[in-house]
């Protein structure tokens, strides 16, 4: 299975994960500073800055796009409960 490396900049941890993993699945387990509310892509609590490697994340869904827009999310931010890792190296930190 393809792997990806996700680095959580705020806690200095790089985790090797299987492709298809959502950021929420990893960040909670390593205790990164990304916090969660609804966990369903609606509340925008888990806004996350993609420091690098954004191209290795699956494109946002229509819902995620709308929530990011409604919450005035800056460019290069995603919802950790939605963003799915495809491969490569990705670095993130709480948004």
């Amino acid at each position: 299975m393809p792997k990806a490396k996700v680095t959580f900049e705020d806690i200095g941890v790089t985790v090797t994960v299987p492709a298809g993993t959502r950021l929420i699945e990893v960040s909670e387990r390593v205790g990164a500073g990304i916090t969660y509310g609804c966990r369903e892509g609606e509340c925008c609590t888990c806004l996350t800055k993609i420091v690098s490697g954004g191209e290795h994340l699956a494109n946002p869904s229509v819902l995620e796009d709308q929530v990011l827009k409604d919450n005035l999310a800056p460019r290069g931010h995603r919802l950790a409960c939605q963003a799915q890792v495809l491969g490569g190296d990705i670095t993130v930190r709480p948004g």
Partner: protein, 424 residues
């Protein structure tokens, strides 16, 4: 029925500016979590310009009838050009669907974050959304000789909240900001009974968790020339309105300077039946102090009340909670404190749990789950020690303290791990 001696007519704030709200004197519990000893009011306002009429917020659905009667006393529905929604919580938007039905030509102005809430409020059969415009700080609506200017003031106390400033009159329609649950038909602060307790209680329970956002909002509000503040609950503040702005500034500012402001702060709370969890707490604190740049405070929860400890929590960067396990749970004072933390902002603070136990030791994991639920980050696994901590276990407590301190100071060594190694 008339409201406590008030007629069903609108009440004038200034020529062409009226209160058209409703009084709810018998309410005793608001949103379940708030007490009120004499009810509340749902304040709505009408502003008339030469080219249009604006309605600012509505009332709770049960009070729509009196709201519409008051509204009709100062405006026709076909004159209403503008609906301003400063806050979409049902106590302010309850009459909105019916108002939109009666004044379908009205354009709605609301904050960007309110858009999704508007859609959620006006679900089918009101599936056709009104003509709405998201606005932010500096955006204006010209009513003809009167200008409504918007201030983006989110999280006071919902994501959607905003304030609206009537430029020519210096009136601030502040939504829940500067409001309180106090019902008085005299309406104005220079005539109403003593509502100071209600004002402070409302701040403490509604606004305090969003202190940083209060400060952001004050930065927008303080430079304004304010002749009157028209909040969405409680008395209208026409006498010395700036005093209430100053009071918010005081309430949102720590009472004493934090002496450790140049350092990270860790507060260690613990309870201990036989001294074992206390010993762990002391060693955790000792370990954390070994890392430069962290100042540790140690508190036995038996010696205080949750409200006092909330003040400490609000200011701290990191929080450690030590509890023995009794009857398969953490002990009640821990839960009392953790359930009080919704009154302060703890999002993103660092949390860690520890404790001694007799045979099953559930407390630590239960506390960690609660910390995550409160949106703290929990980067370090908690530490459980069976009964009396020995030399090595106390060293492990010191190591935990050091680890916590490194996370607080951002000096933790980079780790590379495989997901399969993480505990589910």
């Amino acid at each position: 029925m008339a409201d406590r001696g008030l007629s069903d007519d609108a009440v004038e704030l200034a020529p062409g500016v009226h209160w058209v709200g409703a009084l709810d004197p018998h309410l005793r519990s608001f949103d379940i979590i708030l007490k009120t000893a004499n009810g509340t009011s749902y304040n709505s306002y009408v502003v008339r310009g030469e080219q249009g009429v604006a309605v600012i917020d509505t009332v709770k659905e049960n009070y729509a009838e009196v709201f519409f009667r008051r509204l009709e006393s100062v405006a026709r529905y076909d004159e209403i050009s503008t609906l301003v929604l400063n806050h979409l919580e049902p106590d302010h938007s309850g009459a909105l669907p019916e108002l939109l039905r009666r004044a379908p030509q009205a354009k709605v102005y609301l904050s960007t974050r309110a858009q999704m809430m508007l859609k959620a409020l006006l679900k089918p059969p009101m599936s056709d959304l009104p003509d709405y415009t998201p606005v932010s700080t500096g955006d204006e609506v010209d009513l003809g000789g009167r200008t409504l200017r918007f201030l983006h003031t989110p999280y006071l106390h919902w994501p959607d909240t905003q304030c609206t400033y009537l430029v020519e009159d210096g009136f601030l329609f502040s939504g829940d900001v500067f409001g309180c649950h106090f019902c008085d038909a005299r309406l104005f602060n220079d005539q109403a009974g003593d509502f100071r307790f209600s004002f402070e209680y409302y701040y403490a329970h509604i606004m305090r968790p969003f202190r940083e956002h209060v400060l952001d909002a004050l930065a927008l509000i303080e430079p304004l020339a304010i002749h009157l503040i028209a909040p969405a609950h409680g008395p209208i503040l026409r006498h010395r309105p700036r005093d209430y702005v100053h009071r918010y500034r005081e309430l949102a500012t720590p009472r004493l300077t934090n002496e450790a402001r140049s350092e990270k702060t860790l507060v260690v709370f613990y309870l201990s039946a036989y001294g074992n969890t206390r010993r762990m707490a002391e060693c955790l604190a000792e370990g954390a102090e070994r890392v430069g740049g962290v100042r540790v405070s140690l508190y036995d929860l038996e010696g205080g009340e949750p409200d006092v400890f909330c003040d400490l929590v609000e200011e701290a960067d990191g929080l450690a909670f030590g509890s023995p396990t009794i009857n398969a749970d953490a002990v009640k004072p821990i839960w009392d404190l953790l359930s009080s933390l919704t009154s302060v902002n703890v999002k993103g603070k660092l949390g860690v749990a520890f404790g001694s136990y007799g045979w099953s030791g559930e407390a630590v994991r239960l506390i960690e789950d609660r910390l995550r639920g409160l949106k703290l980050r929990v980067p370090v696994d908690g530490l459980r020690v069976k009964l009396v901590p020995d030399h090595d276990e106390l060293d492990a407590c010191r190591a935990l303290g050091q680890d916590v301190a490194r996370h607080l100071t951002g000096t933790v060594e980079h780790r590379a791990i495989d997901m399969s190694a993480l505990v589910g």
